[in-house]
Symmetry: C2
DNA sequence: TTGTAAGCGTTATCAT
DNA sequence: ATGATAACGCTTACAA
């Protein structure tokens, strides 16, 4: 009890495989706190002992245990990222961008995938169990869910979800402005009968799809003289394809089709070309939003609005770090412009 | 000191936002250990106190801190997943499958993305810092790197990386057999001049691309009478496209092209159709391997070998759990068959 | 059924 | 420059 024997290693045999700072201290003949100091920059420690201790640590394969550190420092160095299966599978670059921004800041990513936009409940306990340094949510959360994190002082940044709540920030592509750019382009190209393929009919007022649709329609109305029709699908390729087909079954072909995301647009394009034998853009123009990687392939060449995912991810991480440092700062909503990528589909 | 006052809450003001079991205990007038018991199934606790404590916990927004729990239980309930940017971006379903298999087992996923197959060094410190319950690696690791984890008793499962090492398991698509299926099909279709688009020329002997290439060539040789040429690209769409173009610039068109992955195949297809004006499969057949989601779109309709990602992911998690429970079990290499998906490209 | 106390592996605050 | 020692928030004997 009064000795320096590591407590977790009563006999010669080790109970646990991972070496602890006690093991290193024991082997190096120093105090455990000395070992700890050796792994910290600018700590008062002589270069000679540091060198010796680090050498022994390497031999024993010792690295400070992040979990134990977190407990005392009150910082886990982990940020949770919640996103939907759809986002992961159709826009993996987004997750990649967030991952690399976090890596830049030396923060680990606890990734939680939810089945769909409204299934966040299933992962809430997981997100709450850890003392996360922050949460980046690419899905909607209601006020009650948000409060669970706010109460625990876990900063939330909403990624492309326009949610304003006390103590949370958000980063958004300027949906309305992006859609307006597309509206101008289609209008300038002379299109006067336009079909809009929106998200689900029951999408909430503040959803991405609604924002894009609304922005598009308002811009078109301002330009004037355009006949607009809207149909509503989900978000997927198949939704776009099927909804267009059932629309086109008993309606005239529009001159242009604006889809609120690229997946819908790709579905519509394929429906046009492979089912209806319509050539694009000769028979009809198609435009999307997001600029997913497929959109740039020659098979689609989709005219779309590019979301600047990389700067958005960087900014999202900045917002988290900022709020960790200064929790009481006023809420911020950062808006980043979309960039019109003119290809041949429209 | 002798009182039951929560130590972390000296005055009325709270230093930390997250409620601890002490806070709950204090509010409920019970011991801290009682609170702990309330959150554990089948523990000797009266239903009445449990109900009361849980109610108060909910009010305070208390959930047991996973980190602190891990420290004492020696189980972090976190599994690290390492994969390359390429895999994430070109086969996001893989990450999704792993994520959902882990979720099923109530394990959190620490996702680490590395720039490329050989950049794992950059994320090693992160993976080692946490006492992970296991590691699923979708990238290569050398023996020295593996040992770092083995030493810490962290089970590793290699996902589609054929690495045999003491104490580690792996789960693989049967590359050779899948390639052989494709070889049979192309042969049966009457193709006698076949171009293979392999991975990088310097890919290691035990790499996925080599295994597929080797399996294909051996099977073709067995069938006989086929003239085979190999070219080497990287792994990407652009690699496939560019390498095919530079090959075709001064060589005759083969009857069929087998690419060691779908991305290469998609690149080759687009090069054929959009640059060389060759129709597929009339002028040339193209086949791939993986069955990524794009392959099924009518724009490609790629004949390919489907990797059974979902069962593979489930099995990978099983292997981890198995080895956590019984670390000394013999190493296992699970092989799962690929399924030929015959579409119109070949 | 409940409370007391030890310990998980760290960092941080004191002494020395 | 280094060593004791007290947290961090839990789980788990052991006592009562």
């Amino acid at each position: 009890m009064a000795t320096k024997e590591p407590k977790n290693q009563p006999d010669g045999e080790k109970r646990y495989a991972r070496a602890s700072s006690y093991d290193v201290a024991h082997a190096a003949g120093v105090a455990q706190s000395t070992v700890s100091r050796c792994f910290k920059e600018d700590s008062n420690i002589s270069e000679s002992t540091r060198a010796r201790v680090l050498k022994i640590a390497a031999e024993l394969g010792y690295t400070p245990n992040s979990l134990a550190r977190s407990l005392i420092t009150q910082r886990s160095n982990m940020v949770g990222v919640i996103c939907s299966e759809f986002t992961l599978c159709n826009n993996p670059e987004l997750v990649n961008a967030i991952s690399s921004a976090l890596k830049q800041a030396n923060i680990s990513m606890l990734l939680m995938i939810v089945e769909n936009e409204s299934a966040i409940e299933t992962t809430l306990p997981e997100a709450l169990a850890y003392p996360l340094d922050g949460l980046i949510s690419c899905v909607f959360m209601d006020e009650e869910q948000i409060q669970l994190f706010v109460k625990r002082r876990v900063p939330i940044v909403f990624f492309n979800r326009n949610i304003r709540s006390k103590g949370t920030d958000c980063i958004l592509t300027d949906q309305a402005e992006g859609s307006a750019q597309m509206a101008s382009r289609l209008h300038a190209a002379g299109h006067r009968r336009i079909l809009c393929v929106g998200g689900p009919i029951d999408a909430p007022e503040d959803s991405v799809s609604r924002a894009r649709l609304k922005g598009f329609i308002e811009a078109i109305d301002k330009l004037g003289g355009v006949d607009i029709t809207c149909i509503h699908a989900g978000y997927t390729y198949e939704n776009g394809r099927d909804q267009f087909l059932s629309y086109f079954a008993d309606s005239a072909l529009p001159e242009a089709i604006f889809c609120v995301n690229d997946q819908l647009a790709l579905g519509v394009m394929d429906a046009c070309r492979y089912t209806c034998n319509l050539s694009i853009p000769d028979a009809v123009s198609v435009a999307g939003f997001d600029n997913v990687s497929d959109a740039g392939r020659p098979v689609y060449n989709l005219t779309t609005i590019h979301q600047q995912i990389v700067p958005m991810a960087t900014r999202a991480v900045d917002l988290i770090l900022r709020r960790i440092a200064q929790p009481e700062l006023p809420e911020e909503t950062v808006t980043i412009r979309g960039i019109l990528i003119a290809r041949t589909s429209a």
